[in-house]
Symmetry: C2
């Protein structure tokens, strides 16, 4: 099978310096993941190719495979790195609803710092040991809030969908291959919706155009939906309180 050090078990962080005395490291997995993240932050996920990344690292493409596995595995590692970057609010005596609000802002801040990765992280199942502290914190807070263990999966999924899911949708990608004047064209079509065909849509369009899902032509990167996010978290917390009240 030819075991290769793709997994954490072999991350011995060997710092064998090629030139002996100097502190200069040789290439390792960490460095590759960092370089990949930087590259994606700059040029987007689609632009990242194994060959270009190798060029940046001044190495042959095959070297990347040896350290970090194939492209899919590399992307997974990059996602894990970003997840680990999320600042966890301390689990102390902060009320659970307040804690969730702080976490939400923290998640959004981190994802916006790596907006180009949002489509990738959202479209993959993310199962990484690196996010255990984050998950534990969420579960701890929810459990302390009074939710029984048997409800935890539902509550936890609901919380994740509001806090992570919204930011992913907010930051999803703009059409890349389309005409450059696509945005203008669509904007025009939105503003000229016939009230006869779509009365409510036409009436509320000034409030909606550009700021709502399926009615916008820019990513949340360029057109932030922070107010909606706050509303989402508000509704989440109000709904959870109702659940707590009726189940007790």
């Amino acid at each position: 099978m030819g075991r290769k050090p793709n997994q954490a078990n072999a991350v011995d962080a060997a710092r064998k310096s090629k030139n002996g005395t100097s502190g200069e490291k040789s290439l390792n997995r960490e460095l590759i993941v960092s370089a990949a993240l930087q590259f994606i932050d700059k040029f987007g996920e689609e632009a990242l190719t194994m060959r270009k990344l190798a060029e940046v690292l001044e190495v042959y493409p095959t070297t990347i495979y040896w350290h970090a596995g194939n492209r899919a595995q590399l992307l997974a590692a990059v996602c894990e790195r970003v997840f680990a970057e999320i600042e966890l609010p301390p689990v102390d005596d902060t009320p659970w609803d307040e804690w969730l609000r702080v976490l939400a802002q923290s998640v959004r801040r981190t994802m916006r710092a790596h907006r180009n990765l949002a489509p990738t992280v959202s479209s993959q199942i993310q199962v990484t040991v690196g996010s255990f502290p984050l998950i534990e914190a969420i579960l701890d807070v929810l459990s302390s809030a009074g939710f029984p263990d048997s409800d935890l999966p539902f509550v936890y999924n609901t919380v994740c969908n509001s806090i992570f899911g919204f930011v992913w949708v907010e930051l999803n990608a703009e059409p890349s291959g389309a005409d450059p004047d696509w945005a203008e064209t669509f904007q025009q079509r939105l503003l000229s919706v016939e009230p006869a065909d779509y009365p409510v849509l036409a009436r509320a369009m000034p409030h909606l155009a550009g700021k709502t899902l399926m009615l916008r032509w820019q990513s949340g990167d360029r057109q932030p939906l922070g107010d909606s996010y706050r509303y989402v978290v508000d509704v989440l917390i109000a709904g959870l309180k109702e659940k707590l009240a009726t189940s007790a």
Copy 2:
């Protein structure tokens, strides 16, 4: 610029039969989009290449470009097709909360019928004229429920995140390039979490493993999260009712 019939404006559905009398159509945009959707349903979005699709259609790859534009545009058209497939509950005197519940189930049913497309549709901004009826219906119901026009964008985004966002996250893709025994490995690691390190996680693991975001090794395709979805919609509706009550 060499206008090509990539857009709806040129879908004249020309049915020029090549052999004259027969009802046999020549290739057109509709047929290509259908074939692409079928292909993705069977083999996944990653497997769809312009060349393979051309092979299926018994035509040269360039023909697809002429009718449907490049790959990104083709995928956008496929997404639009799926959106149009969502069955809209009638907007009559059904209470708004009940209507949202029915819509939610309808959305989930359609997306599960095209599970392989979920990552694609979720990672792209979807701005299509074809979904105007869907959007109008949602806005109509929310407006009738009593939400003022100025709040509609927030409420609408919140509703979309619960109803669409969750299903997309539920159906996101399993790691493709990883080892075949990855699932088993991760499952093992989950079940052997140290209570000393992650007490709540370890305690609730029997309820969580395999059924919650970031703690599962299968897509919602193979491990449905229907109960969580119901909970998400419950919390959404309870939260919205609270918003209605306090703003009135």
